[in-house]
Amino acid sequence: MLIAKRIFSFWYLIFVCGSILFTMYRSMKLGKVPKIRKIAGLDAIEEAVGRATEMGRPVHFSPGIGGITAIEAPQTFAGLAMLNYVAKLTARFDVPLIVTIRTPEVLPLAEETVSQAYVAEGKIDAFKADNIRYLSSQQFAYAAAVFGIIVREKPAANFLLGAFWAEALMLAECGSFMGAIQIAGTAQLSQVPFFVASCDYTLIGEELFTGAAYVTQDPGQLGAIVGQDIGKVVSAALIILGVILKVIGDKTLENLMKL
């Protein structure tokens, strides 16, 4: 019934999901809420919005250029979860928030996210639908349009949180030239070095996915982070075991993983 060469992946997925569900249950129902380490980039979000407030300049947010159906979808959703938090802060501090969108399917989600954040802060009158801007589905046309917005509107804070490709460096450098405080995060590993070089704070890989849990301190989401860590520990153990078995010429684990 299980498709060949996906059997090990299936059971590993079940194990990781089981660990996450268990730690979420432990955190939500048994009250054993874990503490997670400080993440400078996430702590700096409020400071960045505060800086925009003091300077009387807007905040720019991009949830990446990925969609909601492909492999990069979790990054887009993580970006939208962070947008929810940033929008609440901008509503609270009365700072204009400009959201730039590349993927059409993300536009209604971004509009809903921002409007609900303004409703939650009791500032629905301050919500401007025209600040949630679809620019282009073409990668570099989108990048060029974001350049224009950053140069014209001079945001004091620039958030780039989601899936980015070759335009990552351009967007980050443009924000840097304009003197914006920049917080970026992506799980696209080839783009991480560019963000590290150009931005003030960078969320590397999985840190992007912990963002919503970290800023909301929601017990369920914090519990899930521990489940993730169990998955990572087991992955590391499998790597070490695999190396040892390979060195002694045993192919049991290798064959098991090929199932």
């Binding site: 019934m1 209604p108 025209d130 570099f140 560019f194």
Partner: protein, 207 residues
């Protein structure tokens, strides 16, 4: 209900597509294919909505004579012209291709080419920081560049091997660590969304 219905649909569809990936069940495969077709239709509607958003913002720019408003006219004219041409003659028609290949593609290539200059400025900023990590980065980058450029091998024949070691061993091990973390993070994120615990994307902060 406004929140619960999208969450229920997400859960059912997410579960169905995941199960279909692992199991060879004809009915699930058919449903999964059907759902993917629906996805294409939803994406087409979303493009329509996005075009309305674009038109509304730029029409507003023209109406209020905002700074650089003539560019908004150019955008609306180009958008309507190309959309009309595509609908009337299809995107493979020579006229459509002419405008796309001779106007849009060169602009896109120009923006992409600017990456080279941005890499220079970003590298300058990364290397000038006087920390131990920046020094390691600088030395590694110098070895890598010398290993990849033909002149490097002329200076010292070991540079290409050193560069390969840096890329295949040092860099790869770090990247794989991050990849595993990001992969498991994505599974966790997906699970939280499917279970409705993370609701940031539909306007709620958490469960």
């Amino acid at each position: 209900m406004r929140r619960e219905l999208p969450l229920a649909i997400s859960f059912i569809i997410g579960l169905l597509v995941t199960v279909e990936f692992f199991f060879n069940i004809k009915v699930l495969q058919d449903w999964s294919k059907e759902i993917q077709n629906w996805g294409i239709i939803v994406a087409a509607f979303a493009l329509g909505l996005a075009s309305v958003n674009l038109l509304r913002i730029h029409a507003g720019n023209i109406r209020t004579r905002r700074e650089n408003w003539p560019f908004s006219i150019a955008l609306i004219v180009a958008l309507l012209f190309m959309a009309g041409l595509g609908v009337a003659q299809s995107a493979n028609h020579p006229t459509y291709k002419f405008w796309f290949d001779n106007l849009f593609s060169p602009c896109q290539a120009t923006v992409y080419a600017m990456t080279a200059f941005y890499i220079s400025s970003a590298a300058y900023r990364a290397f000038r920081i006087r920390t131990f990590e920046a020094s390691v980065l600088l030395v590694s980058a110098a070895i890598l560049m010398l290993g990849r450029a033909p002149v490097g091998e002329l200076i010292f024949s070991g540079f290409p091997k050193w560069a390969d070691f840096l890329v295949d061993v040092v860099n790869m091990s770090g990247q794989r660590g991050m990849m595993i973390g990001a992969g498991i993070g994505a599974i966790s994120g997906g699970l939280r969304i499917l279970l409705g615990i993370e609701r940031g994307h539909i306007g709620g902060s958490s469960a």
